[in-house]
Symmetry: C2
């Protein structure tokens, strides 16, 4: 079964891994968020694409939830030694990937080609694509002002409440090569349990991708990022409460109106009205058996 997954960071990556482990990985295409990409000293960093690739390659630092396992921090120590601002943490191996990516981008290769090459080099069988090769950046609107995503998330520790998000460049962004083709060929479209506003929002802000989902001829589902009304990680629950008035399945469904046929929710939320057909299962992907169970629930979805 050919599946396209829209995914953000850790939750999205683990879900993509769940599907890639349960299917022929070459049948899985992961469309990753690039709204939180940033430049560090001119190096192009794609945190979500990297988390996806590292997770699928099995080299993610699982404890930290980002970056590579067996990482060292000598570059960072040297930068700090000379008084550099190091609010965005880069491990040595991670930095090597960013250098490789940036060199390729500077040679004129599009991000999609570079990402495919990096994933392949790390032995990833699934196809990993950025939503777009164009510049698209997430800005977070807060009572304290508007911030680039990483500034708000990392530097300010996402402590400011969010009144809205804005996707700079989205109006002109085209889907990256391969994305629309994969959606066209898909037998199932799955939105990963990622933050609907910050991880999936930037992907759906690309009009061609949103339209492809709206006009789909195959089933589409989303996996709720909530368990018992709480986000497993990150600020999704706070944002749902503030922006949509609640932290239940219904608010997640609201985020994907017209784009999904089914919402996959955790047993802890089974008593809530989702406003759409649901699949109830355990959604926490703490290990391989848990990933497998979720993948089977999703792939067996009767729509």
């Amino acid at each position: 079964m050919k599946v396209v997954v829209l995914a953000g960071g850790l939750g999205g990556s683990r879900f993509a891994r769940a599907l890639a482990e349960s299917l022929d990985p070459s049948d899985v295409t992961v469309v990753g968020n690039i709204g939180d990409d940033l430049e560090v000293a001119g190096l192009h960093v794609s945190p979500d694409l990297d988390t996806i690739v590292y997770t699928l390659a099995g080299v993610l630092d699982e404890r930290r939830g980002w970056g590579r396992a067996d990482e060292t921090w000598n570059a960072r120590a040297a930068a700090e030694e000379v008084g550099a601002e190091t609010w965005f943490q880069l491990g040595d191996r991670d930095l090597g990937l960013h250098v490789a990516r940036t060199e390729a981008l500077r040679r004129g290769e599009p991000l999609s080609a570079v990402t495919a090459k990096l994933a392949q080099a790390l032995g990833v069988g699934a196809t990993v694509l950025p939503a777009t090769d164009d510049r698209l950046r997430t800005w977070v609107v807060t009572p304290a002002g508007e911030f680039p995503f990483q500034e708000w998330f990392v530097r300010r520790g996402h402590r400011d409440e969010v009144d809205g998000v804005r996707f700079e460049g989205a109006a002109k962004a085209r889907a990256a090569p391969g994305v629309l083709e994969a959606l066209e060929a898909a037998e199932l479209i799955a939105i990963a349990p990622s933050n609907p506003f910050l991880s999936i929002g930037p992907i759906l802000a690309v009009a061609e991708i949103r339209e492809a989902l709206e006009s789909r001829r195959v089933p589409a589902l989303a996996v709720s990022p909530l368990i018992g009304g709480r986000a497993v990680r990150g600020p999704a629950d706070r944002m749902l409460a503030r922006l949509l008035g609640g932290t239940g399945p219904a608010q997640v469904t609201d985020c994907y109106k017209g784009l999904i046929d089914v919402l996959v929710i955790d047993e802890a939320d089974a008593d809530q009205d989702a406003g759409i057909q649901t699949i109830v299962t355990k959604t926490l992907m703490r290990d391989a058996p848990a990933r497998r169970r979720l993948a089977e629930a999703v792939l067996g979805v009767p729509v």
Copy 2:
């Protein structure tokens, strides 16, 4: 005694260290070559300034002659793992310095201010300045074509014979803040035993610096980079032979016509005519006593 040293890479750095160890380091200003600066994935790398700073800070890898001691190479391994071209070698700690420098340059700080800050942070007592804050790049003219310095030196292993050098940007380059002031205040100007064409040439290509040397009112000397007609390291001897017809003191003097009053030469070259007043001593700086001996010969120079 206030001294200004014009210096390139390893030989120049060791000579600067020799003087900084023999004088009050705050009386020593090192004007470094930036003709071999380059961008790696957009990171600004200043190989000679770094060798100078690392040497003065006592953190240079003495065996390799460049980069930091106790270096690790995980970034490079990760870049190679994903198929990146890694002809220009960057260690992890070195990379951290480049990230710090590049961030500061991108904030709009001039290279001179950044270099001063890096040196200070690493505990260097001498003042280290780039010859210019403007873009100045060395191109090497060879029978196989014209190459940016690092392309010829590192990537092609400096195997092509050199027919000439060209300093892109030199015509418009101004001396970096502090350079002319240091030359004005100097009681001695010393050209380090660096490659006259590739290390000192770019510094002297800044018209304000050359003019300051031409109109000096204090003694100026150069230390020959040759021992027994051979360069201690690098292609200086091959270049002197091809471009000036010999590898003796006279050819070194030719490089600095009108700019020096004395040439410091090694005992091995004492039988050669230098065409200028000489000081004969041991010039190889293999350890601290050797550095001290050379510094004393230079600082005792009767002119």
